[in-house]
Amino acid sequence: MTFLKLENLKVYYPVRGGFFKRVVDNVKAVDDITLELKEGETYGLVGESGCGKSTTGRTLLGLNKATSGKIIFNDVDLLSLNRREYSQYRKDIQMIFQDPYSSLNPRKRVIDIIAEPIRNFEKLSSKEVKRKVQEVLEKVGLSPESIYKYPHEFSGGQRQRIGIARALTLNPRLIVADEPVSALDVSVQAQVLNFMKDIQKEFNLTYLFISHDLGIIRHMCDRIGIMYKGRIVEQGTTEDIYENPQHIYTKRLLSAIPDINPDNRDKHMAFRKQVDAEFNNSFNQYFDTEGKIVDLRPLSETHSVALP
């Protein structure tokens, strides 16, 4: 049984223009990607800004409309479901948002924020709701008294945890985390990452972890997909990607991460220069005649790369 599989997923945004504002072109935000997630793992999606990471995640949640392709979850193609049928899968897939500030409604108290999904899916008395909310809050390490506070009374890390608590109330199986820590300070970032690892174990969650910080991806993920211009250029286990990058884009990405050891400075720089040069020289090799990134080709059981 497939836990989750994206098959030839395409998401295009129409570009309107011309005299009558017709659709003249498409932004191919996600352009034919296929990937599979196994239950309980953390899959990292990395790439530079605008490469389509968020779009992939949002499409998975039904926040964007897919242009074509399949999203198979538990052997069901979510895209072929109508709204009512889809709603039963709503609970299973949840999201952690990038910005802990805008993802919580500033006008709602914590209890209302966390109770929102409960109220949507379960008919509980307000007392039960309150109890349940307090339970979840405790799980994420916030004091139960804080249910009557407003989001702005919390720190960024705490807010992110409220967001996670909200997602957890539905007992989801898959969580899409779109840059969950990039808006946070280093110290707070650590807090959230630790916490995400904890709950993953506890609830047997599967993560689709989106980030452009390769350090964090490495820390968090079991498998990684490198995205570039709407396509996946390389995919493999963390080991595969970090120790044995094959695609030049992957290499470049990795070489761009600053080295934490000041003593390696010059070495690292030289390496980067070298990769850059290679990138510029061999760039054309990685694209087909139309300038499109070619399809993935397996290198090993876990490792595949977009090479012709």
């Binding site: 705490q158 280093v186 970032q189 690892k197 470049r252 600053p258 934490i260 720089m269």
Partner: protein
């Protein structure tokens, strides 16, 4: 150091008016930057890094700011200069690179004009000379098509390009001293790498002294000669880069290092600094400012405000307990973080 330092900050304090009172965001900071030297300032958000930078440039709104201490630039105290005298220094002898490249550029002016403005202020050049020089600058900061970019508006450029333009503006008059306030935070890693390379190249060419502000320890490792760690408006540790990275002493510095994933290879859990940086109004003004965030130590022993002292050559620490400081095993995350 026999030569006079390029920039010497002595006991600088900068306070802002909030309501009716003034609160110090930069508190008794002393710092030296020499020619051809990159001094990095790191710290969490809100610890006063930008406030310090703007104090050096005297860019704080005057009516709401109080400054004390000395900022000696080439031996001249900038704090005692009049606005017009300061204008002669800004842009010419010292430049500044801002964090957000879009908002740092005037959206209604062409890139060329914005670069030339600085030259107009300080150099007596003809229009043609200025244009020539602007194009050279654009070329220098790695813009592929200077002629074209010269005529463009900021919004027509990508983030990386804009940041290059901001750098071009800062170095237009070849200043001897640069302040870069988080110059790469808004950028992708690949672009960040390019910008850092660019800055390094420029620095080695022009021998400028640079203050580099960032909260990314990786960037510091790549760029800095010396590092100042700031917390709550104070410098808590200061050393050259390899000393600091190999032997961080202040608990805060150590916490920082422990909390970044790239430094914590293989470690399953990251270290978490408890609590958050207090807001300016709520800064603890007595005792060790950081002790609040180390709940496992006895705060009674930290009622005295520790002084910044040299613990080894050129390694300064503001801590009274760094020698016995340790991270307890269970001091990791959730337990101490209370809402």
């Amino acid at each position: 150091m026999s030569k006079q330092p390029l920039l010497k900050i002595n006991n600088l304090s900068t306070s802002f008016r909030i309501g009716d009172d003034y609160y110090a965001a930069v508190d008794d900071v002393s710092l030296t930057v020499n020619e051809n030297e990159v001094v990095a300032i790191v710290g969490e958000s809100g610890c006063g890094k930008s406030a310090l930078a703007l104090s050096i440039m005297q860019l704080h709104p005057q009516e709401r700011t109080k400054m004390a201490g000395e900022v000696l630039f080439n031996g001249k105290n900038l704090l005692s200069l009049s606005v017009s005298e300061m204008n002669k220094v800004r842009g010419k002898d010292m430049g500044m690179i801002f964090q957000d490249p879009l908002t740092a550029l005037n959206p209604l002016m062409r890139v060329g004009q914005q670069i030339e403005e600085s030259m107009k202020n300080h150099l007596q050049l003809s229009d043609a000379e200025m244009k020539k020089r602007s194009l050279e600058l654009l070329n220098k900061v790695g813009i592929p098509n200077p002629e074209r970019t010269y005529m463009q508006y900021p919004h027509e450029l990508s983030g990386g390009m804009r940041q290059r333009v901001v750098i071009a503006i800062a170095i237009a008059c070849e200043p001897k001293f640069l302040i870069a306030d988080e110059p790469t935070t808004a950028l992708d890693v690949t672009i960040q790498a390019q910008i850092l390379d660019l800055m390094r190249d420029l620095q080695s060419q022009m021998k400028t002294g640079i203050i580099l502000i960032t909260h990314d320890l990786g960037v510091v490792a790549e760029m800095a000669d010396k590092v100042a760690v700031m917390y709550a408006g104070e410098i808590v540790e200061f050393a050259d880069v390899s000393t600091l990275y190999n032997n961080p002493l202040h608990p805060y510095t150590r916490s920082l290092f422990n909390s970044i994933p790239s430094a914590a290879h293989g470690q399953d859990r990251l270290h978490v600094i408890q609590g958050i940086v207090p807001s300016l109004k709520n800064l603890p003004r007595t005792g060790c400012r950081f002790s609040e965030r180390i709940p496992w130590i006895d705060s009674a022993t930290h009622e005295e405000h520790p002084a910044l002292h040299e613990v080894e050559k050129d390694h300064f620490v503001r801590c009274s307990c760094y020698q016995h400081f340790h991270f307890p095993k269970d001091a990791e995350d959730l337990k101490y973080d209370i809402s």
